[in-house]
Symmetry: C2
Subunit: 125 residues, 2 copies
DNA sequence: GGTTGCCTTTGACTCGACTCAAAGGTTTAT
DNA sequence: ATAAACCTTTGAGTCGAGTCAAAGGCAACC
């Protein structure tokens, strides 16, 4: 699978794909005879992983760290697990925060329904 | 309440507070005789609103738009409500996305428990 | 009355994460 | 066989969102 195809499939720009690889946020991708990237199943898994994590707000730097550990082989299994757990905690917090904001806005919108003046109310009702 | 106090209270830098106001992401704050900002209850509500929204990933630009509408008075009530609803949709999507990633990582971590090799598995199990 | 610690503005700087442009090689369709 | 549509690298540019530094004003304690 070539760059643009992958880009389309995962809704990422080709530039971003190359950028991630350049930075080490995904491992180096296989190349064909012409030197063109040719993503195999495993490469796609890494792309999918990176996209997921980025979408959840995980920094590129974290991804690089993870790949770094992966490259060092099976002695880093525990470290990688720890890194993922750490990210899970962060994501969980973000999730809760966003949920909270969501509820508050919902409340605010509900107030708009009833208060038909020059409304500006608190978020925390 | 003075700038630093507010900054501490909401875990924002004083610079950010001034930046938001400068950009119009919150309305102008009352000043004391010396020209120092003195946040009253309503100002604090706006700060809290801005922080909430920013934390949920809403752009400063959106906040500016909202404040713009607010300044224009009660003819913009519907527009403001629409804007908030739009943001709610976006936030809801983000929420779902993050939740999905969270579940996937959880799964991945679980796999680490059982697969004790040079593990790298798919996110989607 | 001086030092410390706030406060102000203005304008420049940083940082992360892309994004684009230039210059050029390959492959596919006509 | 030539154009269109890909691909490559390198290096520079952009963009959002702060963040910092300079230069100076007020305020309170010792």
């Amino acid at each position: 699978m070539k760059t643009k195809e992958v880009a389309t499939k995962y809704q990422i720009s080709a530039d971003t794909l190359r950028y991630w690889e350049r930075e080490g946020a995904i491992p180096p991708v296989r190349r064909d005879a012409a030197g063109y990237r040719d993503y195999d199943e495993e490469d796609l898994d890494w792309v999918s992983f990176a996209k997921c994590m980025r979408d959840a707000g995980v920094s590129v730097e974290y991804l690089i760290e993870y790949i770094e550990l992966f490259k060092q082989g099976n002695t880093t299994l525990q470290a990688r697990k720890d890194l993922l757990r750490e990210q899970m905690d962060t994501i969980a917090k973000r999730l809760a925060e966003i949920q909270e904001t969501y509820d508050k806005i919902q409340n605010k919108v509900a107030h708009y329904e009833t208060h038909v003046e020059n409304y500006h109310g608190k978020l925390s009702v």
